[in-house]
Amino acid sequence: MSLIKLGFMEGKKLFSQREIYIALFLCTVLFVMGLDAIGEPDVPLLFWRKLADVIPYVGFWFIAILIVVGVARCLPFEQEQGMSELLLTYKKGRLTLLVVKQIVILMYCVSIVLYFYGIAVFVFTMDYDLTGLFAQVKENPNLYFYANLEWTYAELMIYEFGYIVLASYIFALFIVLLSLFIKRSVFIMMIGGSIFAAGELFDKFIIKYIGTMELGYYLTTIYDYMFNGMLSFRYLNYFGPFSTNEVYGLFLFIAFLLFGMNLFLGRWQRHVAMGD
């Protein structure tokens, strides 16, 4: 079986999960409700500013949840279907399969991000004027995160798209890492979801009570530099240590590291399973 065909089969497996569509339906309804709730009177360039802000503001929650739901079952799929032996004896090796699975997950992340941008564009088009894609960011600079003000909104959107795809892919690879150790997809989903939700609960509520304590400071730092911070653009904090290019480099490095780690651990697990 060629690699493309294998990728196609894996993609089919991933996209045929019914839970993804339950989650997609619920998230779409909530996302549209959320977008409606944060509506404001139109001013020039508001469409693009809103579009740039929507993922760092609330959109990353939806992306994170869909990643947890979609990726949690990616690795345990064969085992839960009683095909684990088939996996271990796959002729091109488990390693190839893991590589293909992780590439398919990247495709999934791209699709999810595109989907939410698509909805946001659709909703905002109804409320705001679309012109100004090539206007500079400094003309309406009140962004939710730090960006080069000399950029046009087109450049900003391309950068942001790449950023959120990378951030979500890192989160997805972390879920894959979890699934190398946890056998049941429902627990992977629960743990992945809890890690993310706990971060958000901390940042949005608990910090209000412990913000003045030293513990609050440490926990905020952890939040900023963990998955929640990545997905919510905290790496592009106005007072953060990284430039826009450095963030890309760092994310690429983390993604490669996790990718490689998953392959290594996956291969190691194969040896354990085969009794080598």
Binding site: R18, E19, L26, G34, D36, I38, A72, R73, V186
Partner: protein, 258 residues
């Protein structure tokens, strides 16, 4: 003459009917039938309402004994949250958002009845699998509404400035998520009993809770007219009753003659 002929013919028809000789029935045939029918003797069934009450109570005791620690921790957390949250609109939104938590917790248990071994285990009980699901969902929904009522009374005690209309609005609004989850649990437990689907629902609710508190969405929803919530609740109740009836009847024998 014609009349005479008719009369004759009728006599002949009567004769015709009377002349129909039928064979003697073999006595062993009846005995054979009786022996066969013994296998079909109905098991004595209690009246439906009595049976429902009994099963719901049993399910309630089972859930309490199985989840006593989890439910206790949940209750403590709920009441702690009520005490900690600051006195503004958020308090009521959070109060409403955490109202269906017992249902979410026990929904897990209902959804977990999917593996074959569990189905077999439930099947060995005196009552049907569908009846078990029915009783579990009803008991936890009633339990959730009871906890909500107690929490609501507690909130009234600590917020003595609230006027009656606001209280009524909160009471009605808080019932909506409980009924919504009850319906979701019923629908999923019938069509797609799977822990993953319940986890997705749970994650979606967390997302909704975050959106409600962090964006103006919660306030907008909370400020909606009470009549809208009353209408939604009535629709939900009708749908729940319809679904519950279907669950209960699922195991009944199909009657082809009535």
């Amino acid at each position: 003459m014609k009349k005479h002929n008719d009369h004759e013919r009728e006599d002949q028809i009567s004769l015709l009917f009377n002349s129909y000789q039928v064979p003697e029935i073999n006595g062993t045939d009846k005995k054979e039938t009786i022996e066969l029918l013994k296998a079909y003797m109905p098991i004595h069934q209690e009246p439906t309402i009595e049976l429902m009450k009994k099963l719901v109570w049993q399910a309630f005791i089972e859930i309490l004994s199985r989840y006593k620690f989890q439910l206790l921790i949940l209750l403590l957390l709920m009441f702690m949250t009520y005490m900690v949250i600051p006195e503004n609109m958020d308090r009521w939104i959070i109060f409403i958002l955490i109202a269906p938590s017992p249902l979410l917790l026990v929904g897990w248990h209902v959804m977990n009845l999917n593996s074959e071994s569990m189905v077999e285990l439930e099947m060995t009980y005196k009552y049907s699998f569908q009846q078990m699901i029915f009783s579990k969902i009803v008991s936890i929904s009633v339990c959730s509404i009871f906890i909500y009522t107690v929490a609501f009374l507690y909130m009234i005690l600590i917020n003595d400035y609230l006027i009656a209309t606001t209280l009524f609005h909160i009471a009605v609004t808080g019932l909506t998520p409980i009924l919504l989850f009850c319906l979701a649990l019923l629908t999923l437990s019938l069509k797609y009993r799977n822990l993953m689907s319940w986890t997705v629902i749970l994650l979606a609710w967390i997302l909704f809770a975050l959106l409600s508190v962090y964006t103006p969405m919660g306030t907008i929803l909370f400020m909606m007219n009470t009549s809208i919530y009353i209408t939604v609740n009535i629709i939900l109740i009708v749908l729940i009753v319809y679904r519950l009836k279907r669950v209960w009847r699922m195991e009944r024998i199909q009657d082809e003659f009535n």
